[in-house]
Amino acid sequence: HLTTSLPLPSERDHLRPRIDLIVFMIDIKSKYSLKNVEASLAHLDASFFLGKVCFLVTGVGRVNFCSVEMNAIWKLGEAYCSPVLFCELELEGIRIATAQRLLRMLQICAGHIPGVSALSFGTLMRNTADD
């Protein structure tokens, strides 16, 4: 399910399936996308931040189009205890690899992988990013 901002419209609440993973996409070329994500985060129930949220930064291939400061994104990841992934949408290989990663994360968050919980996986991802 794709949306441009949160909260989701309440009219369709009863039709919506359980949400296992939320990926906030930030386009490094657009300051507005960061602001939009920050505003949407405020509407999210706290329980999602136990491993069911991640940030996906796109447009990272071209440094000179950068309108968003990387420090701001790292701080966001830290503040919301969620991993930050990077992707260049225009390159097919990276796009496919990122999609596979997200699917894997979704499987874990939906509880389909025995022995690994969303929270433990999220902690694992964050610790490796810090290194």
Binding site: K29, S30, K31, Y32, N64, F65, C66, S67, E69, N71
Partner: protein
């Protein structure tokens, strides 16, 4: 820097300069500038012979001058700037006809310590290269320098993030007469036709806004730059319902200098020349490293 002779650096003002980053030059010696001029001149003549026409159809002689500008630097640890000038020798051998300057290239380094301290003494660090003139000459001179000193030239692009810093920094500079408006140009992405939005702000209003944002004079933080830009974006959104933060900032024009994301700048105030060059040197160094 207060005792730098403004006349020696005045040639930089009010001209459009294209920026390049240059990796350190191997075995470049300030004492051999005349020899370099001779060698470069011979190289250009040879390339012309090979048919790489510089001026189509006209037989003109190119004179090369290479000089040092000791005043153009930041600290004493910086290398003095090197200026390369190409002039067309006038055809008619009249004594009072002057050679016409057709191309200028200036290598400089303003407060570039963090590059030069990590590099051996065989190398000369002049990371910022400013060019004014035809691309064909730039390519000739660049090729000769790359072959002779084993260095690498790259066009220096300026990201929207860095342009925001320049907008904030230059707005804060005190200028005697606020002549020109501050102008920001944005390029709108994802449209089938190219669309640029120009946002002009009265310089005094811009300075007043910056003065309320900046907490410590002489110091600028990323948060202050963000607040400054956000105020400008909100103001625009209130009036035009357009979110500039979703577009790409491509050009900043102030009374101090103008800068375009393709790495094209114009210096307008000699008082702030060193400051702007220091910032550009830093950008050049981060592109090299």
């Amino acid at each position: 820097q207060e005792n730098a002779d403004p006349n020696r650096t005045a040639f930089l003002l009010r001209k459009q300069w294209t920026l390049y980053s240059v990796s350190p030059l191997y075995r470049f010696h300030n004492s051999h500038l005349r020899d370099y001029a001779r060698l470069l001149s011979a190289f250009i003549a040879a390339e012309k012979q090979k048919g790489l026409a510089v001026e189509v159809g006209v037989e003109l002689d190119i004179k090369v001058a290479v000089s040092s500008i000791p005043d153009l630097k930041g600290s004493d640890r910086d290398q003095a700037a090197i200026l390369v000038q190409l002039s067309l020798r006038s055809q008619a051998s009249q004594k009072n006809s002057e050679d016409k300057l057709v191309w200028s290239g200036c290598f400089c380094c303003v407060f570039g310590d963090h590059l030069s301290e990590n590099v051996s003494d065989d190398f000369t660090c002049l990371p910022l290269f400013l060019v004014n003139g035809a691309e064909s000459y730039t390519s000739l001179v660049g090729t000769w320098f790359q072959k002779t000193f084993d260095c690498c030239f790259r066009r220096l692009a300026i990201s929207p993030l860095n342009l925001c810093w320049m907008a904030a920094m230059w707005t804060g500079c005190k200028v005697d007469k606020a002549i020109s408006a501050m102008e920001l140009v944005f390029s709108v992405p994802s449209l089938p036709y190219p669309l640029d939005i120009s946002y002009a702000i009265h310089p005094e209003d811009a300075k007043a806004l910056w003065d309320t944002v900046q907490k410590t004079p002489g110091e600028i933080t990323q948060e202050e730059v963000d607040v400054f830009m956000d105020c400008l974006y909100s103001h625009f959104h209130r009036h035009f319902k357009i979110r500039l933060s979703a577009t790409k900032l491509v050009k900043v024009s102030t009374a101090v200098a103008t800068a375009h994301c393709d790495g094209i700048v114009k210096f307008l105030q000699s008082k702030y020349l060193t400051g702007v060059l220091m910032l550009l040197t830093e950008l050049a160094i981060s592109q090299i490293q």
